[in-house]
């Protein structure tokens, strides 16, 4: 689980992949999930009988038309949204237990950094708040994490001195500081320009291989979902239901050039078709 300090450590990552693949357990299981929002004008069913499993060490992307509840689903797993029925388990724990045990970390669309804290102090924030049941020694070194996300030498920079992409890197480093077993990402690169986004996509895959963390990744970009995901959960809208849980069989490690291959285009075409049907 130790994140390698080197930036380009792809070769050394192979054994981590093997380790997580060998364990083969289930990280997140969702069964018969129901989420309703009660409003003044009656309730809205955001999610209806949603069920799927995320394997340990896996990377699952979530796609769907806007308003399909993919963000709600992620938030339900993160214990940010109360569930109206069904069951969510994160490594056998309820979302609340998992949250208290720091089993997962969340990355938002905005970096959500504290503007008065340096990059390094922002990464340290999770170590300073909340119940710290575990030993602090178990946590990763903030300096090493900043190096892992490619921000070595920018430790003292304040958020307004960093670009949007760099701020999101800080947010990812902060999410990793408690060595979570699951990383929940809600359109983390949605506000970035395309080039920055491609770069961060590649780096996220590298970080995923190096840390062995299970990742659930919500996006509205079909190529992003296909490029990142081992599997892609496509939801339909109103109410949100599982349209299809697609296996994306591209080998790892993946390179950006892969997106120009015929196989990749076939996969994105298939995903796009599912979303259009779901609308």
């Amino acid at each position: 689980m130790t994140p390698a300090p080197a930036v380009a450590a792809a070769p050394g990552a192979a054994d981590i992949v093997a380790a997580s693949a060998a364990s083969g357990g289930t990280a997140i299981s969702v069964a018969d999930l129901m989420v309703r929002f009660e409003g003044a004008a009656g309730g809205v069913t955001a999610l209806d009988r949603v069920g799927f499993d995320v394997p340990e060490g896996g990377l699952v992307t979530m796609l769907g038309p806007s308003g399909c509840g993919k963000s709600t689903l992620l938030r339900a797993v993160a214990d940010l949204v109360p569930i109206g029925g069904g069951k969510i388990r994160v490594f056998g724990r309820t979302p609340e237990q998992a949250r208290l045990a720091r089993d997962f970390a969340f990355v938002f669309q905005d970096a959500t950094l504290l503007p008065w804290r340096s990059a390094l102090d922002n990464v340290r924030l999770p170590l300073e708040v909340g119940r710290r049941d575990g030993d602090l020694d178990q946590y990763a070194e903030p300096e090493e994490l900043l190096a892992l996300v490619g921000l070595r030498g920018r430790e003292d920079a304040l958020p307004h001195e960093l670009s949007g992409g760099m701020r999101q890197r800080v947010a990812i480093a902060r999410a990793l500081v408690c060595r979570p077993r699951v990383l929940l990402m809600d359109e983390p690169f949605g506000a970035l320009d395309e080039l920055t986004r491609d770069k961060l996509n590649e780096e996220l895959l590298r970080i995923w291989r190096e840390t062995g963390t299970t990742i659930m990744f919500v996006t509205h970009s079909v190529p992003e979902a296909a490029f990142l995901g081992e599997k892609c959960l496509v939801l339909s809208a109103q109410p949100g239901r599982v349209r299809e849980y697609v296996d994306i069989g591209f080998p790892s490690p993946r390179a950006l050039g892969m997106r120009d291959t015929l196989e990749f285009v076939q996969v994105t075409a298939h995903l796009r078709g599912l979303i259009e049907e779901a609308q």
């Binding site: 214990d79 938002f108 504290l114 924030l125 708040v129 921000l151 920079a157 304040l158 307004h160 001195e161």
Partner: protein, 278 residues
């Protein structure tokens, strides 16, 4: 990382030597303030011309030179009365703002308290301070106490309103992040809310730094035989116009000094860019 180095290199100054840079900055600053300085000097000159040219009696309007003479000849009288006003204004500033900040923290954590006390705070604020002053003198006597309370009262409301807004000005996402981290309300207050309220607090403190001086002077108008306020009353009734003008200028100078000090502290404390959301 290609992106990592760009920002750092861009921040370094060009080939120009540092002292030349400083001289240029100084000149630019002078050019910015020059119009205000020239205008002020011209107005003082015009005032002097009108007073001496039309032979306006001193008790109606003294000339700038006569006012300046008071600072030289009656400096001791001015200073003796300056210190009590300074003390009252500062004590009132500290008292009013401390209570306002503590109440704001309470309101943000207890909606019932906010609903119960906020309207009352608004009501108290609507009572003219001139009307409250005699009441406080009756209650608290002739010493420093009523002046400090009046100065505190006048500071209190803007700080309360701004601080409540500031403490609530935390993005919903930041609160969600703190929930994911299972942070307690106390941790959210100390790590997030207080820091992010600072721009709002300083906006209020800048207002309070000048109004607290007004509060102290108003307090001294009613039943007091010391302080700039009492000196204003005394000079007015005795037709000592130059002394009156000098006292007013000293009072204004105190308020300007308080405002400048607050602004300087703000600049040192707020190194980050408020307003930008990350």
């Amino acid at each position: 990382m290609t992106t990592a180095g760009v920002g750092g290199r861009g921040a370094v100054a060009g080939p120009e030597p540092a002292d030349a840079h400083a001289v240029r900055a100084e000149r630019a600053q002078f050019r910015r303030h020059a119009p205000a300085i020239v205008t002020a000097v011209a107005m003082l000159g015009l005032w002097q011309l009108v007073v001496t040219g039309f032979g306006v009696p001193t008790y109606i309007a003294p000339s700038p030179v006569q006012v300046a003479q008071v600072f030289v000849e009656q400096g001791d009288v001015l200073w003796i009365n300056f210190w009590p006003t300074l003390l009252e204004a500062m004590a009132g500033f500290a008292l009013g703002n401390t209570i306002a900040v503590l109440l704001a923290v309470w309101f943000v954590h207890n909606r019932l308290a906010e609903r119960a006390f906020y309207p009352i705070a608004v009501f108290v604020n609507t009572i003219p301070i001139i009307a409250v002053a005699p009441i406080l003198v009756l209650m608290l006597g002739n010493g420093y106490a009523p002046k400090i309370v009046i100065a505190a009262l006048i500071c209190f409301f803007p700080t309360l309103v701004n601080m409540v807004r500031g403490l609530k000005a935390v993005s919903p996402q930041m609160l969600e992040l703190m929930r994911v981290l299972s942070a307690s309300d106390r941790e959210i207050l100390w790590k997030i809310r207080l820091q992010s309220s600072l721009p709002f607090l300083f906006a209020a403190l800048k207002i309070a730094s000048t109004t607290c001086v007004i509060g102290a002077i108003v307090g001294e108008w009613i039943g007091s035989n010391y302080g700039l306020g009492s000196l204003i009353i005394e000079a007015t009734y005795n037709f000592r116009a130059p002394l009156l003008y000098a006292t007013v200028i000293l009072g204004a100078g105190l308020a300007v000094a308080a405002f400048t000090t607050t602004s300087l502290i703000e600049r040192r404390v707020l190194k980050w860019k408020p307003g930008a959301v990350f």
